[in-house]
Symmetry: C2
Subunit: 636 residues, 2 copies
Amino acid sequence: MEANASTRPVPVAPAGARRGLGLDELRLHDGFWNRLQRRNTDATLQHCLEWMEKLGWIANFDRVADEDTGGERPGWQFSDSEIYKLIEALAWEYGRTGDGWANQTLEDLVDRIAAAQDEDGYLGTCYGHAGQADRYSDLESGHELYCIGHLLQAAVARVRTVGEDKLVEVARRAADHVCRKFGSEGRQGLCGHAEIEVGLAELGRALGEPRYTEQARLFVERRGHGRLKPIALLDATYFQDDQPVREAEVWRGHAVRALYLAAGAADVAVDTGDGELLDAVARQWSRTVQRRTYLTGGMGSRHQDEGFGEDWELPPDRAYCETCAGIASNMVSWRLYLATGEVRYADLMERTFHNVIATSPSEDGRTFFYANPLHQREAAADVRPGEVNPRAEGGVRAPWFDVSCCPTNLARTLASWQAYAASVEEKTVSLLQYAAGELRVAVAGGHLALRIDTAYPHEGTIRLHIIEAPGGEVGLRLRVPHWADGAELTDGTETERAQPGWAEVRRVFKAGDELMLTLPVQPRLTWPDERIDAQRGCVAVERGPRVLCAEAIDLPDGWSLEDIRIDPDTEPRPEGDGATVRLSPAPPERTAHGHPPYRSTRPIPAEPDWREVRLSPYHRWAQRGGTAMRVFLPAV
Amino acid sequence: MEANASTRPVPVAPAGARRGLGLDELRLHDGFWNRLQRRNTDATLQHCLEWMEKLGWIANFDRVADEDTGGERPGWQFSDSEIYKLIEALAWEYGRTGDGWANQTLEDLVDRIAAAQDEDGYLGTCYGHAGQADRYSDLESGHELYCIGHLLQAAVARVRTVGEDKLVEVARRAADHVCRKFGSEGRQGLCGHAEIEVGLAELGRALGEPRYTEQARLFVERRGHGRLKPIALLDATYFQDDQPVREAEVWRGHAVRALYLAAGAADVAVDTGDGELLDAVARQWSRTVQRRTYLTGGMGSRHQDEGFGEDWELPPDRAYCETCAGIASNMVSWRLYLATGEVRYADLMERTFHNVIATSPSEDGRTFFYANPLHQREAAADVRPGEVNPRAEGGVRAPWFDVSCCPTNLARTLASWQAYAASVEEKTVSLLQYAAGELRVAVAGGHLALRIDTAYPHEGTIRLHIIEAPGGEVGLRLRVPHWADGAELTDGTETERAQPGWAEVRRVFKAGDELMLTLPVQPRLTWPDERIDAQRGCVAVERGPRVLCAEAIDLPDGWSLEDIRIDPDTEPRPEGDGATVRLSPAPPERTAHGHPPYRSTRPIPAEPDWREVRLSPYHRWAQRGGTAMRVFLPAV
């Protein structure tokens, strides 16, 4: 008998007909995402564990268990959440690979955490014990419910991979405590940082516990009525407490908070059949993606408040594009995709996977970008090994941060990457993210198994070899990205043009059948909307799902990135996994300059001195050392 | 006998040959600066007093005097400084006008402050008393020395207008305390916010007390060696503690701190004959003005940290351009002008006076801009009367702020505006800022008195009528701004072309002589340096020293500022005190848009629908109510 949705090893499992891929349903072969996932396995998981032991964040649980609180407590008030995110990553890792170290490490951590849980189910190392402030005495910035939300997500990973265990029991007690404390008859409070909503909703699904869904609903509805007090300069907008979710038109305020909230609201909407709420989240997605999202898929235009900017406020240089916001954006898009089946959500996820999520970790999996700007004017100095980076500025990957949400968030995302690669719906399998590997899923009437051979996105051909098929008709849908103008699908006899959207073959498959989708991954120019003031007069170069960038170390001697322009009339040429374009230094005469740097005459461009210059995939920038970089190249 | 420099009623009086104007040497007639000054007299001074009484900031002194500290203390730790800046304003006001209310208010405030001064001269309402943290226990953010610096500047205003009095005595005791505590044998500390340097240096000049100058020198030299600990994410650069003043190439970090420090360093350099230090400040000025300064003269590109950006990082929308940074910039430029006589410093001061300082106060003198962005996408909602604006975002003038440095800083600057209008050097008088009025200064051999008739900057003619002249030859230098291409000077018989810089007439003047300078104030286009990414493809319109802007309320019905372009081939035409330009809506077809807002084809501009649209002086924006606004108009 087929596992039902809620017991399949997937992060998100709404009750609807469409489901994501269980981690056991796609085995990756060598390729881009496989390498990122292996790097996570081989380095990042251990790295996160080491840092959190070293800094004493894990020992915070021991201090609570030992009734030794009240002294100096290392870490921010939300540091518990990093341990929970690591546990979630370990749970997916063990579920995917059966790796003993991952399971043992998880169990050791859970033992320490369980020992810190209070009698009544409350769990947190910063509040409510001897020498600490009272529980929930600072809902605005205490992050207690935020931390518990991540605990619940970790438990979801566990229950869906090994079943109920100690972690799940700890999470259940914590969730029950939250429901008692903040239920409809309880305190009408909410957390300054959304996350409990999405955690409760999914745990409700995983355990079949409608009380958790209801509590998630209460938290979603409770926000937007100005209940949270401003923290110094951080106002209601920062917390999304300025407007009810179902009324808002666009995401605003702190980007990760806004996106976690939207993910939770989407879950609640689906589980309660609340079409109005789902439409609200979809509407916010549309407006935000159209007007407040970078070419990379990055979200968050401001360092201040780590927040969204206004419509069209998309400065490449001060782009924040926090790695966690990319992860959170994909959490929302994935939920909207599962709810609606619309291809645009999977399109944005691909963009974000390749240009935000893949950009953060270094090639050794031990340093990370926190912010992901699209323009770096000065080469950043290297971070000294073993040092915490106090500041999440872009330009250099650091091993750990003062606020270190991104490494563990990456770890849990990469450990469960398979889940987002395809979806299954009765007799239809939809391939969403292309990677070499072997897929085997149950569909009505049996199993569909196929091998995917591809070097995508480096190359554009995706070959599917059917290994096993059910007796009846099956639909195989292949996502054709919105940029793929001129894609083709062939089954060896017939070749047809595939329009952006879905290329679908519905028939009785049999073992040995082959299909080939060809996506055009030659480099191409991409023009920003004219309303994006900070990108005016510039063009970017993309190749397949990847944004390319110019790094200063690839310029001819004596050139500077502050002074180049591109020949927009010459198509970029492929080179390696990047491209070459024609660039020229751009200094016109500058003698007429006054102070400040403005002049009374229109600048006359110098005669161009075109040279072929190499652009590289954005996700690899600064892998060869700190360097100036820009995605948008001046064309005027 | 002529008063020596240090007893003349001027804010800055180095020992050199060149001096600024005493407030008693220029009486303004009706005109732009006169109106701003009268508004300050009639409304702003009283307004600041009322707010600081209402919020309890002044009563903080009473609580110290009454030994009633330890309870809730209203205001930030630096609120004392606002009372000192108001006192400075009142001192200049009384010195300039003899107004009894100003003097009485000042004396009442000084009584309350003096009562709070500790036995040993320490003065501060936030530290060192019962229930408070220890004195100087938090040099990074305590602002104790910063506050005392403003006290000393207030005392300078008093000693130079009425002589030594109770305020001066209070200041002297406070300065002595600082010298004992932080002298070369004392604690090697420095304040997180520079200001004590400039206060000590000028009080040293005013009282002829070299110990104060030496202490200022110690503080200047002590900075830049990483002595200050980071405050959360605010690092050494924020405090300018990353690099010694004499080694730095450019201003960086928190803009007001950087500029107050530079002003203090310039004072120290001049008073100690330290050419290297003076050159360092001048070098920083040049680099910063060339690469980190807005067309308005505004400084500070980032809301985060209220800081300078990198070179060429000048986003119009997120420009911070704090009003106080404009004031501080003029403090530095004025000191460099007095030290060098170079006209470029006075040029920048004019730009900053007209486009930052004059922009902040509303027409009733009771609301203020804190930040002065050059692009506002959405009309800001009005601030509710009587409410503190927690946030210094641009777009709306507010009556008071949580951090309310700008209103009192404006008050002291406007009350002493005359000082910066001209300089005197032996037999030469240099007119720097043009305003209608009557000037009478002592020069070698007697007095030069003249009437200035002008409606500048609305009109470009400046007529000088000599009322009194000494027997011998006198030089009269008129500043010709750097933008004034085609200026002319006539004495009624001969007319000559005046190049940007100085137009000088050196001769024996006699009563009845007339001179007329004509500056071209027709509107003109101004092009940003191509390296300013956020202004690429745009042009601004200026008229005389004023930057103009488009306000959404002046657009044809149905148009939006996010969607316009300018015809850069048509010269703007004067209209009122602004201009008209040819604008067109700019939407090309937008059907090809994907998500996010980028497209694969080069946008084809729509056929322009040119209309004449009015631009207004930037300093008046939002005076007619909240509105979207932009200075830089897309030309491509």
